[in-house]
Amino acid sequence: MKQLGFIICVLACASASMRAQDIVVQRLQGEVAVRHGVTEVWTHVAVGDVLRPDDTMKTGKKGTAVLTAPLRSNGAVKRITLPPEVIVDLSDVRELSQEELMLKLTMERVRASSYQWKNDDLHIPNAAVVHGSDQSGAASLTDNDPQSGTLQWNGARVLYDNGFYSTCALKSMELFRLYPAIGVKFENRLMAAEALEKASLHGEALSEYTAMLQMEGVTSTQQATVKERIAELRKQ
């Protein structure tokens, strides 16, 4: 009997340990779905489900969800509420160390710059050179679904509101690339810059604020706000 009790105790501890590292669905209301990994299908999610880091959650117009996620910094479990109409990658619901954030930013630059051929290496030309583009297809494509962009941007705001500034900043950059319309809105850029600032990336934040001054349609009030931020950053 003592042995059985010990086994139960060990299993309970192991379970608690496992759950402490995972994101768990605590409460659901309305339309909420999850997309696993690299699939395209949204599926049902239930209270108590343990989600993987490569999962994505989406809430509908009247849907909300409450998740618990462990914080790496202090080991506490944080409750995150997903309001209606958001899409959140659960891999973003985490605290990045300064090193990881720098690596991520570096990766953005690596990805953006592609691999450069070494100067002393040989470039092999592709014999199958294509001049011009094939115009035989149908009409031009429409941009990515703005609704999906809005949902993802709302998700980025959830990250910001819950203090995940690093992943919020990175997600903002990704969304600006995929949904250019999001990136031309002053308030969106401001949130991204503030996320960078709060993630202690002052240099990057300063660059972003400076770039915002060049945006079209920026009002004098908005300019004043940005200049104030820039001045504060320069003091630091």
Partner: protein, 651 residues
């Protein structure tokens, strides 16, 4: 003396006399008969002449012209030489008494042995090994006058008999390690005879036994050389050479034999002086036992069978020798010296073009002059390169050393190397713009087979052959057969759709199998994969990349090498859809299924990861698996920025 045999002696150069054993020290046309393989030591043209003063004449007869010769090195590894040596002879005068019609007459029979002509050829297989052959002409002439009474007067009539023989010798020289040279010479391996002495003189014919001579020379430093050797005829010796500088050299040698008494039967000393292209030598040869070496000996002691070598035999006398050599052509002093060569990279035929830019090794060069020198290095492998590849010039201070990188432009022949082989790479350094080089060294280079891969993902792109006719035909056939299904697709999605169609067609015809060697370092060329309809991960990735490139779709390799788990290393492919990120949702709603990165033109486009190991399950499965791996290793694992994931573009 009435019963004496008198003779003249052949020549040897002062350098050879001074060293005692010369076989491993031949480096030019002088005395190449000692070892013809040494002829490859010539720089260009060699001319020499020699003379000697026999001690037997007491100086009264003056110097005897020994002979002259010339040699030429050509095509880098070949050398020819010939010599005319009228002084290389032995002449015996044998007195006898004959009776003609009851009258006693003192008669003289003259026996002459000579080796007046020799020619040789040498070939250098490498800096450390060379071979040579030579032909020596030996003549034997006997003049035995006849006497008759003519009108009460005794008249002599010439009665000359002669025979000549060409002897063939073969030799080699081998340098097994720096400073050590070994040599071997086989004498009289074959011969061609012309004429024959009458039966009554056959006993005067010299022996034609085969023999073997071996020798070794060791350079303790550039200034000191020791040499030793022996022959199957039981003759040998030891000697040394000291070169203190200023072009001077001093030599001393001891001649030893188990059949002579005393065993140390001769000593030789000589000195040489090099002044520019001219080298002058003087030497003296002294025999410890002068019996029979004074220019005459008893007829009873005259023994033809003891004469194995016209140069050195029981009748050779003490002598003073002088010689002069002139080097023409490449006669300038070296300004740069190779200290060492390091080959740092093997040659992979698939990536041979890269070696035109990426050094294959380096040569350490010393400026041996008193002025700063601009030194160039070049590298050449026979047959695999059309011409030596020259490296950029490096300025080296006086007496200083510097490393010069070596690059190599190979020709197409290297792609026909099927298995691993080792070749000699020739490294030259030159300190002047002139064509000739100052120093040269050979280094061994490992040439891999054409399918060998060094495991570096950067090199894998060299297996991608989008311009291969087989690849072009295959991709065109696939697209042509599915032309109708592409008609209604928007132009922006054409590349993506073509890639998907090609992958599915590719998947339907090929099998994932291990390569013939079942190792990661063997990669098939796309044409081979298409021919044998199968391959492993690397082969499939390379083949599919080639097919996509052949229709203008850019690709990149993703190389994953998880830290601490090299056995899980893996490569898969990204291809460029050409689609702008703002249109990405037309391909996938889930951003984890694609990668946004810049393409060759510098525009950010949507790239699709595909995993070729699940090729049999079609494009959708390969895409899903590729996306999963990319997300897991790059986005979550941060492998790209941590360095264990690399992306290499293939255009």
């Amino acid at each position: 003396m009435a019963d004496a045999a008198t003779y003249a002696q052949p020549i040897l150069s002062p350098r050879a006399v001074g060293l005692g054993v010369y076989g491993a020290s031949v480096k030019d046309s002088r005395d190449f008969v000692a070892n013809p393989s040494g002829l490859v030591g010539m720089r260009d043209w060699d001319f020499y002449a020699t003379t000697y003063l026999p001690a037997s004449s007491g100086g009264s007869g003056g110097f005897v012209f020994g002979g002259f010769g010339a040699g030429k090195r050509f095509f880098e590894d070949h050398a020819l030489a010939a010599q005319y040596t009228p002084g290389a002879l032995l002449e015996f005068v044998l007195p006898s008494t004959m009776t003609v019609q009851g009258v006693g007459i003192a008669a003289e029979r003259t026996v002459t042995y000579a080796e007046p002509v020799a020619a040789a050829y040498a070939y250098r297989f490498s800096d450390r090994f060379s071979v040579g052959v030579e032909g020596r002409l030996r003549t034997e002439t006997i003049n035995d006058p006849r006497y008759q009474f003519v009108d009460s007067t005794i008249v002599s009539f010439a009665n000359e008999s002669s025979a000549s023989t060409w002897f063939l010798d073969a030799a080699l020289a081998w340098q097994p390690s720096t400073g050590l040279t070994l040599s071997a010479v086989g004498r009289n391996l074959a011969n061609i005879e012309s004429g024959e002495l009458p039966a009554e003189f056959q006993s005067l014919s010299l022996p034609m036994n085969r023999s073997l001579e071996v020798a070794a020379a060791y350079d303790f430093s550039p200034a000191f050389r020791l040499t030793a050797g022996a022959g199957s005829n039981k003759y040998g010796g030891i000697g040394g050479e000291w070169s203190p500088g200023l072009g001077l050299a001093f030599r001393g040698g001891m001649y030893l034999s188990s059949v002579e008494s005393p065993a140390l039967y001769a000593i030789g000393v000589s000195a040489g002086w090099v002044i520019g292209p001219v080298e002058i030598d003087a030497g003296f040869l002294h025999f410890t036992d002068q019996e029979g070496r004074k220019g005459s000996t008893s007829t009873a002691d005259f023994d033809v069978s003891a004469i194995h070598n016209i140069s050195m035999n029981a009748y050779t006398t003490d002598r003073l020798l002088l010689s002069a050599k002139v080097v023409l052509g490449k006669v300038r002093e070296s300004l740069a010296r190779i200290v060492g060569v390091e080959i740092v990279s093997a040659v992979y035929p698939s990536a041979y073009q890269a070696l035109a830019y990426r050094p294959i090794g380096k040569v350490r060069v010393q400026n041996v002059s008193d002025k700063p020198m601009q030194v160039r290095a070049s590298f050449y492998i026979d047959r695999l390169m059309d011409a030596p590849t020259e490296s950029p010039a490096v300025v080296i201070a006086p007496r200083d050393e510097a490393d010069i990188p070596l690059t190599a432009v190979f020709n197409e022949s290297v792609k026909s190397v099927s298995t691993v082989t080792v070749r000699e790479g020739n490294v030259y350094v030159s300190a002047t713009p002139a064509e000739e080089y100052d120093d040269r060294l050979q280094a061994k280079v490992l040439i891999h087979g054409k399918n060998d891969w060094d495991g570096d993902v950067f090199s894998l792109r060299y297996f991608v052959t989008p311009d291969d006719p087989e690849v072009i035909r295959y991709s065109r056939d696939i697209l042509l057969a599915r032309k109708d299904s592409l008609v209604n697709d928007p132009s922006e999605l054409q590349l993506f759709r073509k890639a998907a169609l090609m992958f599915d067609a590719f998947a339907g015809k090929l099998l994932y199998v291990n390569d013939p060697k079942q190792s990661a370092d063997f990669v098939q060329y796309p044409a081979e994969t298409l021919t044998i309809r199968g391959g492993d991960c690397d082969d499939m990735t390379v083949c599919f990349s080639s097919l996509l490139n052949s229709v203008g779709i850019g690709t990149a390799f993703v190389d994953i090498l998880p830290p601490g788990r090299p056995q899980d290393g893996h490569i898969f492919l990204l291809f460029d859809t050409g689609l702008a990120p703002r249109h990405a949702s037309h391909i996938a709603e889930n951003p984890k299924r694609y990668v946004v990165r810049k393409n060759k033109s510098g525009f950010e486009t949507v790239w699709i990861p595909v995993e070729s190991t699940v090729i049999t399950r079609g494009f959708a499965a390969a895409w899903a698996e590729g996306a999963r791996q990319y997300f897991e290793n790059v986005e979550v694992g941060l492998g790209l920025v941590k360095g264990w994931v690399r992306i290499v573009d293939v255009y």
